[in-house]
Symmetry: C2
Subunit: 230 residues, 2 copies
């Protein structure tokens, strides 16, 4: 008997890390567990993979069952498989993450399972290794924010620089200097200033901006780098 | 009974996609299976995850057992979990991929298990969904090649432009125009020409180049984009 013939079965689960931006703050969607173990504690949304479904199907299905959210693009992140991560039974977990604009989905979130948005810098301690999962997802988000400096999925069509700064502060878990942030961001040529202002945040107001999609495609989609030279 | 309490166990395996560059061609390391099912057919290197190890540990361990390769950086790719992917028993597979410089490792490859390098554009049909796994790994490789236009891990310290072109042709599975490739690549400022030539490929010879690591860090590690404005 060796690893090529020895078949010791285990449980497979999926867990979803859902980040959302409400225009001010980066948030994370958590659920209060209604079942043992750890009933009543906060956790990511997850459940066991069933015999007739793939992990991707399980993730979409669980997200829909627990929150009502449909049509969210879930990206597979990584597998958590420490032998002792679940105290009851060997379970490996396949994690997924998503970015959504909270306002696009707020009417969909179902109340049945007590799902709640928390600021990403201040949320309850989670069960098992779920805090590690959030940390890994956040690193992935930072990585994607660096490759695609403006995160389309999270932004409303028109947004202000303070809003964008709030988003990046959430992603990088840090305070950014307003003047430097503005200067650096405008120097990318990725944003187009609109003629009107948002007056909700301050009396002076803040100009609305839109993403300059043409500049974005030209400068930041390096995918084309080598394909363009055929 | 629902998915939150129903615990139907399954098997978990890992499979490794090992890409190597021998200075001319991009290759893939395959193994002739010595066990059923599909004994004698070609496959990726893989095996079942054991009770006392994580998937990452299983992957490193399997790679060492089957090829003798040690110290290879394996990156988790994605989970393949179609319910019918393994005809005998429900098995989900966590895939890993690695890029190596073949010459750095050639003495390590063990003969015990019949592992063999094949050109990435011409290799035998593989068992199960292993061809899909190779395709996904290849897409990942293309993605990484675009973000980091020069693939450090695969290159010898000094290399020629024809060598580099061979590598990119393997990655993108296409023929590149030599003049355009050279022009575009040199325009990045990422390569520093050396004073001597490699005369093995042609009588005229091809200059050796090195990677300009400083320029690479400055221009292509966009990770620093927002972190630099704190």
């Amino acid at each position: 008997m060796n690893r090529y013939s020895s078949q010791k079965k285990l449980l497979a689960a999926v867990d979803c890390i859902i980040f959302g931006f409400d225009g001010q703050q980066l948030k994370i969607l958590l659920i209060q567990r209604g079942f043992d173990p750890e009933k009543g504690k906060w956790s990511l949304m997850g459940g066991y993979v069933q015999p007739d479904e793939s992990c991707n199907e399980a993730a979409s299905c669980i997200l829909k069952e627990l929150t009502g959210l449909e049509g969210v693009y879930l990206k597979q992140l990584q597998v958590f498989s420490d032998p002792n991560r679940d105290p009851l039974e060997r379970t490996i977990s396949v994690t997924y993450f998503a970015l959504i604009n909270i306002h696009d989905y707020e009417t969909q979130i179902s109340d049945d399972y007590h799902a709640e948005w928390f600021p990403v810098n201040k949320f309850p301690k989670l069960i098992f290794d779920h805090n590690d999962m959030v940390n890994i997802a956040r690193k992935q988000l930072q990585h994607e924010a660096a490759i695609h400096p403006v995160l389309f999925e999270l932004l409303p069509p028109r947004f202000t620089l303070p809003q964008l700064q709030g988003l990046y502060e959430g992603i990088y878990n840090t305070q950014l200097d307003k003047r430097n942030f503005t200067r650096k961001l405008l120097s990318t040529g990725l944003l187009t200033r609109q003629s009107d202002k948002d007056k909700q945040g301050s009396r002076k107001g803040a100009f609305f901006y839109k993403i300059n999609k043409k500049a974005f495609r030209q400068n930041y989609l390096q995918k084309d780098f080598f394909l363009g030279i055929k």
